[in-house]
Symmetry: C2
Subunit: 345 residues, 2 copies
């Protein structure tokens, strides 16, 4: 109720001991006689004392604080990550400072700069863009950084991401089980390193399962891109004509999309043109964008966000240890296959 928070000196005075003893009694950093411990604790409670974490941080050169930097997604598909990170940190009595980033590089550097100024003990960052984030990660200097979700190559930061190989294997196996013979990939860009890796992994998994695989011309990995891809498919992609082997085109019977948005676009256009899904063509997505939703119309791969958050916290706290050798570690976690109505049951 008082306007000023009581200080350790107030507690010590009330308990009739020195500030040193009061400090030791409350933190348990050194032995104090049982009698005085009790007196200090009573005084502390009576005064409503809350240790000043600011002063403590200044003295200890440690804030017990971690920064989390996320891209701003109105769909909120990262809230599961926030919650799991928050929970993991809370178990270690560490506070979470949250910042949102824009694609704008300068904003990202400012974000990290602000966290550095606050002397956070570590930073967990989901890089908003590959080029912008390299700079901001470098700006972190000596502060431990863990990247989560997306991933910028550096030699100094740990990272936790999806096990991409496992993801493609899972999806291809699912499709093969449902009788698929030939897959068309939509929304991945051969020119982008990460995408091209995914394509290669898909091709590998497909050939191992005896399936054919082709890649559609690139369209942006958003809803509009899916719609454009759907229209291309109907016009030229060997999906429009009902009988198999119509022209020289490949008789595609499955479409794998970069993410849920693309898949939604493709699905809508195909249905508009009377293409039966999943009877004639099955559709699946490589990336779940709405982990909250329970009813999935499209079969998709879900990021294990809670586990990723826990893992990021673990890496970060481990990197705080004095004897840490600072060799970049990369943890990958398996995605979860979420079956939807767009593939056969």
């Amino acid at each position: 109720m008082d306007d000023e928070q009581p200080t350790l000196a107030d507690v010590a005075r009330a308990a009739g001991v020195s500030v040193a003893t009061a400090s030791r009694a409350l933190t348990g950093s050194r032995p104090v006689s049982g009698d005085r411990v009790r007196r200090v604790q009573e005084a502390s409670r009576a005064l409503g004392y809350h240790p000043n974490a600011v002063a403590s941080a200044l003295r200890l050169q440690r804030t017990e604080t971690v920064g989390l930097v996320l891209p701003r997604y109105t769909t909120g598909f990262l809230s599961a990550l926030i919650e799991s990170v928050s929970e993991g940190l809370e178990q270690h009595r560490i506070s979470l400072v949250l910042r949102y980033s824009e694609a704008d590089a300068q904003h990202d550097v400012d974000n990290v700069g602000s966290l550095i100024a606050r002397r956070v003990d570590g930073i967990i960052i989901c890089p908003p863009s590959l080029e912008a984030s390299r700079e901001s990660i470098a700006a972190a200097g000596a502060v431990p950084v863990v990247q989560v979700g997306r991933f910028v190559e550096t030699d100094r930061t740990d990272s936790v991401g999806l096990d991409e190989d496992r993801a493609t294997d899972l999806l291809v196996a699912h499709l093969a089980e449902r009788g698929v013979r030939s897959i068309l990939v939509v929304g991945l860009d051969q020119e982008v390193a990460a995408d091209s890796r995914r394509i290669r992994a898909l091709a590998l998994a497909a050939s191992a399962a005896g399936l054919e695989l082709a890649v559609a011309p690139f369209t942006a990995a958003v809803l509009e891109g899916g719609i454009r891809a759907g229209e291309w498919l109907v016009a030229e992609g060997g999906v429009g004509e009902v009988p198999e082997g119509g022209r020289g085109g490949r008789p595609v019977d499955a479409i794998v999309c970069a993410n849920d948005d693309v898949a939604a676009g493709v699905l809508a256009v195909l249905r508009m043109h009377g293409v039966a899904v999943p009877a004639r063509v099955q559709i699946a997505s490589l990336l779940d964008l709405a982990p909250g939703a329970e009813d999935h119309s499209v079969t998709t791969l879900r990021h294990p966000w809670p586990a990723m958050g826990r893992e990021a916290v673990r890496l970060l706290l481990d990197a705080r240890q004095p004897g840490h050798d600072r060799i970049a570690r990369r943890v990958t976690l398996a995605p979860q296959l979420v079956p939807g109505a767009s593939t056969l049951p």
Copy 2:
């Protein structure tokens, strides 16, 4: 790259001035000759200096930090609030410390205690439960608190919430326009003060529009409650039989549910029993639980979360002003009606 962050003393030494001058040059708190300003800024940049916000906070007795306490919802329907609060604070260069609360009262008090220990300048809290939160709000002591979303009566905190009267008016008007004559309310508990207020507001709006209104026996305001309510409706609620005025029961042609979950349960059960929605009965919800989703099957009222976040920040920053009189202010914002397929177009 160095392991230690440079301090103001380092900058001052490099620039050949005193720490006092360096401080003044960087903060602009007092005039410094142009020449020295330039030298200090150069030294600062050359050393990669970031002012230590911890030391500054200790000295100024102000952390430029605000705590946000939210209930843990895996649906993530509060992410819009987090984003808007974060954005509002960022404009004032204030950092956001995020904590999740449980229904457990002790946990909630601990949350606030941790924020007090960190000496946050203010707290924005969405009370997880009415009884638990009164205590934690009291624990905030002299720190300004703004409640958002839900609302615990206190005489000392500002709050921002939904304009409930406007909400009920909006929904009743929508239904009246669609030819509704008689409304049944589901999922609201007469025994709970807030719910009973809502029921009264609905009754008022209904009678003003010439509609009848009745309240179904209370079932929990979650999906299961909606299912139970749906079954009750089919069996006894005057919805199952097709012709109007079958028994003495009221010929209900609209159901207003406490929230989307309840509505989803009711909708599913009615459809299972062949009741045509919205042709025979229209369904609407008083509370949108998934502001992210674009396709709403149920007509609902959406909280203006972004505006609520902005308003909460505004109230909090205003309460930090020295001359603030600490009289509790309550801001209410109008919800947005989101039409779905469960009412006539």
